[in-house]
């Protein structure tokens, strides 16, 4: 499949311009639910990226064999397989992280980011491009989850990656490790990103690409 879009663009777009969480609002359930600490955000991001990469590989390889009518069923079975692999990997080798993420690892199956990329990209592109796209999207997802996790952990627990950085003078804002803190932080982050995009666009002369 030939495409006019450069390979670099396919990779980079997922990190900022088409960032799954900030631009497409995909995968919000894990982005909101597990980011009460930076470590949890990182683990969830890595697990999701693993599932994204391996299902992209398989689906782009099989894309010409899967009949259009049953493609969603096929994709879901493939995604569920890799989610189970990731879930059992964490349970077997990283039991502490597995316990703190709880049911959210199995729930990667219904993360629309993954199914969305398969349907929109991997089922129409070759293996190389699909992997690049998935890697970019996965990195974008990890980036947002870790940033969310860091902000919420600093304000909600006074630490980063479990290391206390704020002294005893700081009273943690409990709300930040509760669900409302996730919504507030993500909302403010998206607002800032849109504001940044708007101002940098108007500097270009008001042309929206």
């Amino acid at each position: 499949m030939s495409s006019t879009i450069s390979l670099k663009t396919e990779f980079v777009k997922g990190i900022w311009k088409e960032n799954p969480v900030m631009a497409s609002l995909l995968g919000l359930c894990p982005a909101l639910a597990v980011t009460n600490a930076a470590m949890n955000g990182l683990a969830m991001g890595l697990a999701t990226t693993f599932v994204l990469l391996s299902s992209s590989l398989m689906i782009s390889a099989l894309r010409n064999f899967i009949p259009h009518q049953v493609r969603i069923a096929g994709y879901i079975v493939i995604i569920a397989t890799f989610v189970t692999v990731a879930d059992r990997f964490l349970a077997a080798y990283l039991p502490v992280i597995s316990a703190s993420l709880g049911p959210y690892i199995p729930l990667i199956v219904v993360n629309c980011l993954i199914l969305g990329r398969q349907e929109a990209f991997s089922s129409r592109n070759g293996i190389g491009r699909s992997l690049l796209d998935s890697l970019g999207m996965g990195l974008g997802f990890i980036l947002v989850l870790v940033v969310l996790g860091i902000i919420r952990e600093i304000l909600g627990s006074g630490s980063i990656f479990g290391v206390a950085i704020l002294g005893d003078w700081f009273t943690p804002w409990m709300i930040m490790i509760l669900p409302p803190g996730a919504f507030l932080t993500l909302g403010i982050l998206i607002a800032l990103a849109n504001w940044y995009n708007d101002t940098s666009r108007s500097k270009d002369g008001g042309v929206v690409s």
Binding site: T171, W173, M174, I175, M176, L178, P180, L184, G205
Partner: protein
């Protein structure tokens, strides 16, 4: 291409530099305060009362004076510190937002001052000043200006600030001290449950005289029912608050809690106790009546008050918390657009479809 067809390219070119740059919008309210233009073309209504936003706001502040004075009398320097911190942080936050949005300073309209003062009156006397400032900032920046500023906010900003503090610092927000003038004043800063907390967790009723005068433990401005009533009645008489909202709020609380009390007087507190305790009076007269976040129609006001009263009793009797005025008003705030929509009066001659 362009070299061959200069005629086609020309009309497009001069347009680009001409494109008017979007100027930062000035606050449309600034016009309302000082009408400078001699001729104004406007749609109805053409007759105005002398009420302006600042006039209403300053009257609300006047009505809050009795409760504020009593707060200072009962809790002394603790109250002074919290009130000053909360109000000044609200003003600073308002100024910052004005600066960032590039609009006219809106401090003179008094709304930020009210938000700061109301928030202070809902805080426990031992609350830390730093957290108070944080709550004020949240109330003004997120509660008011994220939604578009005064007149656009869905939720009462002061209550939203309080909800933020409640979720952030649950222990300090529910640690109460006796007023310095109360019976137990000989022990310095002893913690004490509020009358509602005492009833909920230990089954002890409080004396009604304490609830009326405010010589009980509780938030700064909510302990005395009488002080709030004086200010509240002033607002109602001057028509700066819709009388239907506090009346229906209090009535619904009285009736619903009365039914439970009638069924089992041992396990549920009396409706009179429910009316006088906690933040109900302050909430009913000063927070539920916020013009921006309550329905505009008469029927809507009844529904709003009754709904808040019902939710309040349910939270107080069956929820995990002893007090629920804040949540009941915030929940009904969320319903306000819906209530407005369904209680819209008919046009003259309109036939229901």
């Amino acid at each position: 291409m362009t070299e061959e067809n200069p005629s086609q390219a020309q009309p497009e070119q001069p347009e680009i530099p001409k494109k008017p740059r979007v100027k930062p919008k000035k606050d449309p309210r600034a016009k309302l305060y000082k009408p400078e233009t001699p001729l104004i073309l406007a749609s109805s209504p053409h007759f105005h009362t002398r009420d302006t936003v600042p006039r209403i706001m300053w009257n609300v502040i006047l009505a809050l004076v009795p409760a504020t004075v009593l707060a200072v009398v009962y809790f002394q320097w603790a109250a002074v510190g919290i009130i000053l911190t909360s109000v000044s942080s609200a003003l600073v936050a308002e100024m910052l937002v004005n600066r960032v949005k590039g609009e006219a300073f809106t401090i003179p309209d008094g709304s930020a001052l009210i938000t700061g003062l109301l928030l202070a009156l809902t805080l426990p006397p031992s609350f830390s000043l730093g957290s108070t400032a944080l709550g004020s900032f949240f109330a003004i920046i997120v509660g008011k200006h994220f939604f578009g500023g005064l007149g656009y906010n869905i939720f009462n900003p002061a209550l939203l600030g309080r909800a933020f503090l409640q979720a952030s610092f649950p222990v300090p927000m529910t640690t109460w001290t006796w007023p310095l003038t109360a019976r137990y004043a000989d022990v310095d800063g002893v913690t004490a449950a509020t009358p509602l907390g005492l009833f909920k967790f230990e089954g002890i009723s409080s004396e009604l005289s304490g609830l009326l005068t405010g010589n009980i433990s509780g938030s700064l401005g909510e302990t005395s029912a009488i002080a709030i009533l004086i200010g509240g009645l002033y607002l109602l008489i001057r028509k700066y608050a819709d009388w239907r909202i506090p009346l229906s709020f209090l009535l619904a609380t009285f009736l619903v809690s009365g039914v439970f009390w009638w069924i089992s007087p041992e396990s549920y507190p009396s409706p009179v106790f429910q009316l006088l305790s906690g933040g109900l009076m302050l909430g009913a007269f000063f927070m539920a009546t916020d013009m921006v976040t309550s329905p505009v129609t008469a029927l809507g006001a009844w529904i709003f008050g009754a709904g808040a009263g019902f939710i309040l009793v349910i939270i107080r009797l069956f929820g995990g918390l002893p007090e629920g005025v804040m949540y009941s008003i915030l929940l009904m705030n969320a319903f306000t657009p819906l209530i407005n929509r369904y209680t819209r009066p008919k046009f003259f001659g309109e036939i229901r479809a």
